[in-house]
Symmetry: C2
Subunit: 323 residues, 2 copies
């Protein structure tokens, strides 16, 4: 199968084109009319480093690739717009596998209102994806970077932590699932394999006055450090306030791991961490969306401290890995 | 060296940020204010498929990766805006190699006024690049796709053909260079290793009324076929009118190849092919830019015919390769 034939089959599987897109996939470039400000991010995913094909189906890999890219837009408070996907296909991924991958990407695109506006397909030694996403807002001021947190701001977190790390443990060591309800195991694995970009929560936080925001891909400790450094502030997280994913404690116990360590450094939860004035917390919660919890506060100074219930502190784990 | 440390060194090497960029590399996403229409394209380049590290330096690889992506914007008549680059780094490319690659990308960015507004760095089995470029125009109508050519339009070509194919032959078979002036050899190799995106020519063609445009990456035969199919027209190219790159005839003779075949199916010249009303040809030429030559015309019907001086025709070579 040639590149153009494959691209033609891919185009047949794409969700409808959004209103900003005047010319979609299939030309030299897509044409859009953004009409305000855009947030744009690129992410690369490489087999053997970011995913393994014996642990995830092509559809799951495709879903997660676009979902994690969209998570960056959620962290800006942007509305999802367009995605551009480059896929490097290895010799042992057949046409059906390619199309399942595209179905995964197209599925999350349809669920989030994202237009797949362009792509490129090439051969590669291992399955490789690069996803560029473009999100939208009426003005640049409505898009929230990492650098605006101020001392006194509340630190708010969407959803719960540690689910993705527990799900990874369950995928790597299936025997850990034995003592857990099947529903819990399914949910935790799904947190690892099929994360949800918090797009509506991000827009609500931005509209409510969030001053700085980041999505938790590296883990709370590492990502809070990014936010603190960009804003020139310190951050204190109260460990007792952290919402832990249901089942995390049981998986951690079975694996001989500390649930708090998994929650703060496990990464890949793709929840949002935002700094905003305390009085705006209520306004930032989305009805029917993930729970919004105050988990700490922004301080004068520098660095991130995770305060334990016994008064001790947990230093954020190292996170500067080239992966 | 960790990802963040490398990214910090990369950011130090970037050219200045353009006026549309409100928040550049280093946050969850870049923030831009496009203020009109955008053209966006993604390209992936994989070592061993699109380039070889024993034939091109990291700097050359970086330059070509961004230049060929920008060529897609040139083919839309867009002004260069922002680039987002994902790099997969193999174990045998050291820090200096990475930074040379970035210097190549940053060099062509500076030359074309492109802001490197975001990126991602990961490990990969071979050097892998994915480049997304965003170009700008005041309105969507000013961006030229492949689908608007009309019977009677003139077919115009920037620059000359076959230089990249001849350069590739010289790189693969250095003995062919023996009988050629050193200057010619250097120029032809450069056409292969360091192509120039025809951004100004593309904007001039768009402003002059080009109805359809494409850049020649696959080769004249293949790319003219794309344009003909998208527009629902036929295309006749006059072989005698095709400007051939200086030195192509000599390299072809030394290699036992047909220069016309190299010119029409060699690919990678990254010249622009445009359909426009005949009377607009003069207005579309850029002073000081590449020569604009009428090489054929748009016809009723379908398909591409390359008419030889003896009255015969050359069928465009097959071009649907997954590479």
């Amino acid at each position: 199968m040639g590149e153009f034939e494959l691209l033609e089959k891919v185009r047949e599987r794409l969700p409808p084109v959004g209103p900003r897109v005047r010319l979609g996939s299939g030309d030299d470039a897509a044409v859009t009319v953004p009409g305000g400000a855009t947030a744009t991010s690129i992410d690369a995913l490489v087999e053997g480093i970011h995913f393994r094909r014996d642990k995830a189906t092509p559809t799951q890999i495709g879903r997660k690739a676009l979902a994690t890219a969209l998570s960056d837009l959620a962290a800006m408070g942007a509305e999802a717009g367009e995605a551009y996907v480059a896929v490097g296909i290895p010799a042992d991924l057949d046409e059906d596998g390619c199309l399942e991958l595209i179905d995964g990407i197209a599925g999350i695109a349809a669920e989030t209102g994202t237009t797949l506006a362009g792509g490129d397909v090439t051969r590669a030694p291992v399955l490789t994806l690069a996803v560029t996403v473009v999100g939208h807002a009426a003005t640049a001021e409505q898009l929230i970077g990492r650098g605006g947190a101020r001392p006194g701001d509340a630190l708010a977190l969407t959803g719960a932590l540690g689910g993705a790390a527990a799900g990874l443990l369950l995928l790597e060591r299936p025997e850990l699932a034995a003592a857990l309800p099947e529903e819990t195991v399914t949910q935790l694995r799904r947190r690892q394999l099929d994360p949800t970009p918090r797009l509506a929560a991000g827009q609500a936080l931005a509209a409510a006055g969030a001053r700085a925001m980041i999505d938790l891909s590296d883990g709370l400790g590492g990502d809070a450090t990014h936010l603190a450094e960009s804003s020139g502030v310190g951050i204190r997280v109260e460990a007792a306030a952290l919402p832990l994913a249901p089942g995390l404690a049981e998986v951690a116990a079975a694996a001989g791991r500390d649930p708090l360590e998994l929650a703060t450094s496990g990464g890949e939860d793709y929840e949002l961490l935002a700094a905003l004035p305390r009085e705006r917390l209520t306004a930032a919660a989305v009805v029917g969306g993930p729970k919004l919890t105050q988990v700490g506060e922004v301080l004068d100074g520098a660095g991130v401290e995770i305060r334990l219930p016994d008064g001790g502190t947990l230093a954020p784990a190292g996170f500067d890995q080239l992966d």
